[in-house]
Symmetry: C2
Subunit: 125 residues, 2 copies
């Protein structure tokens, strides 16, 4: 089986309120996570919500990284989608958890675009 | 158990090459999917890749929608993350599959940010 993409969904708990609520800091962490994982950063957009929380996405040549934070729960939902062999989605997740000062990181990898053979049609999963 | 977010991962197969490779069309479909699902669109960024393929993200007040297309396989990887009760991630996925002229849609919902009680600390999953 050949997967076109790797998608890691990371549940990041026990983070620092101040970091999770700082739009610029969260953006810096996500962009640096992409770079640390070996990705080619194309563009990023981040928004701050009222009364708290940050959402943002980093588009990379190899797909994307996204984050949504709930500072009041010390929680960040992160997902990292990569294609190709060069970039490790796990490295990006570990970097983010570490920079958010997280107590716990629970993550799962989902294989996206599974084909029995890359030149053949899709299989039903 | 209370989940802060709903994250639907959609595998969309058997789509039309011409649509999957058209950056403007894919962006229009994703933004309209967000609107059709009742979301408040903040910003979107899309990129076209060489020799083919489109990646893009729509940031909504309720989280995000992302897409990565492989026109050569007729395949699109879509994920829709929503929070709150107002927006249905499934509605957005169905809209995208329909507009891409897809033959198959296989999707899974992942609950993000599961807390035993929203005012208590996180549980380990």
């Amino acid at each position: 089986m050949h997967a076109l993409g790797r998608h890691v969904l990371a549940e990041i708990y026990g983070c620092e309120f101040g970091i999770l609520n700082d739009e610029k800091k969260v953006e810096e962490i996500m962009v640096n996570a992409a770079l640390a994982a070996g990705a080619d950063v194309r563009e990023s957009i981040f928004h701050k919500f009222s009364p708290q929380g940050v959402s943002g996405v980093v588009v990379i040549s190899e797909s994307h990284l996204a984050v949504h934070t709930w500072p009041e729960y010390g929680y960040a939902a992160v997902d990292v989608f990569t294609c190709g062999e060069k970039v490790s989605p796990w490295e990006a997740c570990r970097y983010v958890a570490s920079e958010l000062g997280a107590a716990h990181l629970n993550a799962t990898e989902v294989h996206r675009g599974l084909f029995a053979d890359p030149h053949q049609k899709a299989v039903n999963l």
